[in-house]
Amino acid sequence: MTDLQSLDIPPGSSHKRPLVVMRNVSKSFSSGTLALSDMSLTVEGGEFVSLLGPSGCGKSTALRIIAGLGDTTTGTIDWPASRINVRGLPEGDISFVFQEPTLMPWQTVFGNVYLPLRLRGVSRAHAADAIMTALDTVGLKDFAKAYPRELSGGMKMRVSIARALVTKPKLLLMDEPFAALDEITRQKLNDDVLKLWRDTGITVIFVTHSVFESAYLANRIVVMKARPGRVHADFPLQTSLERGPLYRASEDYRAACEKVSAALLDAMGGEAMEMH
């Protein structure tokens, strides 16, 4: 249906080659703010990385830099296992759910979700099935013909999520995608993303403010410290349980939550934070 290009791994390459390597990246804006300072991060193919940190610490900036949006001030981004196109990005599909919905106001919901496919030359008729499936996933099938201004905040965000999922990406960058959603929709989408990750071997970098969410989803946690932004803690979350209702009730999950929480608290300089 969509002519997805595969994120080829060159023949003979070791399986262990990382997907993306961020090496000593600094980013300062012309306003003088140093958003990232000497940040290094290596993400392996197939990981589910959750990025946490205080508001304004540089999570979104880091994600954008990985996606090739905006130059680094110093430092480099490498894609050791991928063919690189002219823009320095791997050939293949990166999808990005921005922190803000970023919808085209002159397009309907359908048109907005169609965008990534349209840019690849997929015809509207061919794309329709995939689009409606993606809209169904986020519960907006009935709103395909609506314009963004006719949607609530959470609905806009869901359109943005549908747009990211419609291409069946190989690397999924999500910047607080579910923050504007109610808990139930949120959990459903959490499970949808997990399923996608498990089924397709996709790599996910997921920014969230929710300790619970990160503990539920990620198999690796990266906690950032603010001003300037840099990696403060970086640890795996292992569990023998499949992530799902069972895991949510488990001691593993509770331990993970506490661990993430502690790391975050530490990153914020030990301000008072009580977990319930």
């Binding site: 085209m104 840019l119 314009y147």
Partner: protein, 276 residues
């Protein structure tokens, strides 16, 4: 999405009334103006050869319809051709200018020079080198009308939301795709303003071009009739020609406004009703 049945009926009635008023009000205003004009003429006793009353003008309009109608038609044609050229030229040059900051710096001033050069001064040159008077006329008209469209388009094309630009970059959109799917639709509100100005200016351009490039006799437009009436001191006819010009201008304005409404009413603040 359920619909309460009594609501649309009330809404559609309100809509009908609104449409009616939208047509009625301008007519009322025009009638009021005409009455004011008549009163003024009567009260001050200004002679007809300085300012004829609406009656004399209407009479002349009827009597001279035989000469005025073909002239109106010629002017309409030139105006449309000028507007078409100005749209193509203005939008085309605007797209060229925004390709890079350097192109803009280098070539925008040339567009300014073209704009500020008085047509009367270069009309002879154009007449000499243009293959036919018709072409000369169109060149003159284009020179008068293109700049507002160009300026508005440049501003519009540059005012695209940076987040959406990021989105397009991310999906590897080509320059062309970014232009078609993002920059052009996003600049629609500016384009529509340009169109609205350009519509009126094209009419002026048609008149000025006819003055400058001079067509005479059978194939001449309202400009010529106007000058001639002036020369002949046939002031009622002069005003009849003015009335026709004004009417043509208002019709063009109405059409361009309608086009603007069509393009924007679904999504843009300027045309969308504010609903909370």
């Amino acid at each position: 999405m359920s619909t309460a049945s009594p609501v649309p009926t009330a809404a559609s009635a309100a809509k009908n009334r609104e449409t009616l008023l939208r047509i009625l009000i301008p007519i009322l205003v025009v009638v009021a103006l005409v009455v004011l004009w008549q009163v003024l003429v009567t009260a001050t006793g200004v002679p007809q050869y300085i300012l004829p009353g609406p009656g004399a003008v209407a009479q002349s309009l009827v009597k001279d319809w035989g000469t005025l109608a073909p002239a109106l038609w010629v002017t309409t044609q030139i105006t449309m051709a000028a507007l078409g050229l100005a749209l193509i030229g203005g939008v085309g040059i605007a797209i060229f200018l925004i390709q890079s900051k350097w192109i803009e710096t280098a070539f925008y001033p040339i567009a300014v020079i073209l704009q500020v050069t008085p047509i009367v001064a270069i009309a002879p040159l154009i007449l000499i080198y243009a293959p036919t008077t018709q072409v000369a006329l169109l060149i003159c008209a284009f020179l008068v009308a293109f700049f507002p469209i160009l300026s508005n388009m440049v501003q519009g094309l540059k005012s695209v939301d940076h987040n959406l630009l990021n989105l397009f970059d991310l999906y590897g959109a080509s320059r062309w795709q970014t232009l078609i799917y993002l920059k052009l639709p996003a600049s629609l509100p500016y384009f529509m303003t340009g169109l609205r100005i350009g519509g009126g200016l094209s009419l002026i351009a048609a008149v000025v071009a006819e003055f400058a490039a001079g067509s005479a006799g059978a194939g001449s437009g309202l400009a010529f009739r106007l000058l001639e009436a002036q020369y002949r001191l046939n002031i009622p006819r002069l005003f009849a020609a003015l009335v026709l010009l004004s009417a043509l201008g208002v019709v063009i304005f109405g059409i361009t406004s309608f086009i603007a409404w069509l393009g924007l009413h679904r999504w843009h603040e300027s045309s969308v009703r504010r609903e909370n």
